[in-house]
Subunit: 205 residues, 2 copies
Amino acid sequence: MKKERGLLIVLSGPSGVGKGTVRKTIFSQNDTNFEYSISVTTRKPREGEVDGVDYFFKSREEFEEMIKHDKLLEWAEYVGNYYGTPIDYVEKTLSEGKDVFLEIEVQGAIQVRKAFAEGLFIFLMPPSLSELKSRIVTRGTETNELIENRMKVAKEEIELMDAYDYVVENDHVELACERIKAIVQAEHCRRERIAHLYKKMLEVE
Amino acid sequence: MKKERGLLIVLSGPSGVGKGTVRKTIFSQNDTNFEYSISVTTRKPREGEVDGVDYFFKSREEFEEMIKHDKLLEWAEYVGNYYGTPIDYVEKTLSEGKDVFLEIEVQGAIQVRKAFAEGLFIFLMPPSLSELKSRIVTRGTETNELIENRMKVAKEEIELMDAYDYVVENDHVELACERIKAIVQAEHCRRERIAHLYKKMLEVE
């Protein structure tokens, strides 16, 4: 296969659909060349966490400078700390020909789409709303009111599906992972991306 | 996975690239639901050939009626006989939710693209022109002049790559088959094709 720039793969979907499990399974299967996108955060490193491996650790001032200078593909504040995806790291990795894998919330993915339209946006979908509800219920000891609220948010998130390129049903984790890997493999064969590499043949030989 | 209409998969590529071998390998692997598109022909059935299985056998008058009434996705005349792809059979199979697999010459594929723009057009590409040449040389006892002529035609066919959706390198038959199956699996996850099926969830539940 001819050498080309990597793809930015953005996996997202409604809260409770199982994005984290799917992402961990893909990385544990070890049959892709995906690089996990390292986030920037202002929270303190926990024991054993390494700067540039687990996170890029920054001060609030540094993070706010990054926001100001458009150095983040997306960011959010969560429990008093900033979290974001640094453009420079993503760009560097893509230019090395590696695919970057980003697993984020729906709102973050919409931000990324605006900054990086050529990314590959995959929406992970529950097989049904009742299945999503039972996953949310199983996860924690949430009250009925909280559960209903999370379902309402999930429905709003599903409405945002149209901003994505692909919809992958998470009926079984292994099947969902297989579909995601097929999508990435297929995208590497898209004519718009690679035709120029093959057309060079006609000039050279 | 939600039920949807099948895809028309059109595999093509320059003469000598190995389309037939790739198609036979995919069907022998038996892990897809592809239906092989049955051609219409005016040639006489050979012993053991069954109408509606190997070919749809027609008279010249019937075939010319099909041409006249736009009943063929593509057709050509070869050694005094007509060969073509019947639209009705393709449409019927797609509407049953099955993917139809068509392996044809580049010129035929360009005809199909005009009649059936939503098909999935895959261009099978040799790893290099010198590799294509050695495949053509290995095939038969052709003269240098004939080989040069076939290479000239192949280069012209490669120029038509832009009418296709995907380019698959045939470096190894098994890898090419895997890529083609990944492309079909990915296309079944394309948001434009399936979002409406999932959005129904929001109404029903």
